[in-house]
Symmetry: C2
Subunit: 205 residues, 2 copies
DNA sequence: TGTACATCAGTGAACGCGCGTTCACTGATGTAC
DNA sequence: TGTACATCAGTGAACGCGCGTTCACTGATGTAC
């Protein structure tokens, strides 16, 4: 069942798996990709990882615990992707645009994972402090880009929420197909974001 | 179980209810308010409406059908509230601000309903054309307000998505408690929105 | 270097419940004559 | 105006399955001596 990266972790013929925790997370990401959130249940997950359905309980307290770990991996990768794609861009507007484009790309290319990351199931999990921290990384990237402007104004906090909300709003609406890029005659996501964020240009110095 | 408005529709002692469809939707809204989405299942719903658990099937094909109807009611009320609160405001910026404030208020005061309206369960329902139409009403309100500017510029379409995304993004982030208004030293939602939307001011003429 | 033993990751099977849905029925309503 | 009958909204009971979780167990691993 599991394909690609997850297969690496499958050592079917050893009784002790060795890195089952990582393998489970990887399989979960696979399942999300191919079957969506609805397809992600512990039994299917165990099956895909080549292990009994009780085995995950050696590594995760319950399903929530596992979902939290999967989501956290998602947030980490999202932040890493944003950092990687925006390296070298020091001009504020360019950098902000790239960060947003990266955010949108991540969401559209990993839609079920993104849905999980912002699902209400996960929002209820107050007991996962590292999750909240990791989730804050992408916000920090945008926040940092804005506060390093040559002439930061006193409206910077509001500018930051505005850009952040714009980023997240655009992304969810695009990912859920409530905004259709083609209708705007935009050549690409880059183009679309440039023209949308451009409206803030005066404030981006 | 059902309280308030829903109670009106409860006629426990008549075999034929008479307006069960409306009563079910009303009870569903009650349940959402008190128990959240997780608490909304057909059995509990029937119980709250004072009817057997098979009764709803005379009015709704299946659970999805019912959820769609509930969500549609939500979209209708949202749009109505926005219209009502923004009546008389003709200055573009004022009107936009009021529409956004109204949107945010609706979401925070009807959080589970709002969650349902934008849930992935609902997003999958392509077979409910009236639902999609009703869902578009609040977008139309913002779009209309912007296109009626004295000097509409050619960036109006992008302006519209930007404002719309800002509106929806702010709202979800506030409703899911990922943005905390107090941290911004904003006196009220109105104040917060004014200062956030204010950043677009130059473009709002 | 080999043996005894604690540890614990994984097995296999079963529990149990929440919940959507179905089915044969019954009671109320309204319309034709 | 009263009676026969079709219609259909609601009843009561049961089906069934997906899925999280538990439990007594077993096989592998590593450490002390």
């Amino acid at each position: 069942m599991a394909t690609g990266a997850a297969a690496v972790f499958q050592k079917k013929f050893k009784y002790h798996h060795g890195q089952l925790r990582e393998a489970l997370i990887e399989s979960a990401l696979d399942i999300l990709k191919t079957q969506g959130i609805e397809g992600l249940n512990l039994r299917a997950l165990a099956r895909a990882t080549g292990v009994t359905q009780a085995a995950p309980y050696s590594h995760f307290r319950d399903k929530d615990d596992l979902l939290a770990a999967v989501a956290e991996t998602g947030f980490q990768r999202l932040a890493m992707q944003m950092v990687a794609e925006a390296t070298g861009l020091r001009h504020t507007q360019e950098r902000i645009e790239k960060l947003i484009v990266s955010y949108i790309r991540f969401a559209t290319e990993n839609r079920p994972l993104f849905q999980l990351m912002f699902s209400r199931e996960l929002a209820q999990m107050k007991n996962y402090p590292t999750l909240a921290m990791t989730a804050g990384k992408s916000y920090s990237l945008i926040s940092a880009a804005l506060s390093k402007r040559p002439s930061p104004a006193e409206d910077t906090p509001f500018m930051t929420v505005a850009i952040w909300s714009l980023c997240h709003g655009l992304t969810t609406l695009i990912a859920e197909e409530k905004i259709n890029l083609q209708q705007f005659g935009a050549a690409s996501v880059e183009d679309f974001v440039r023209r949308t964020v451009g409206i803030f240009a005066a404030h981006l110095v």
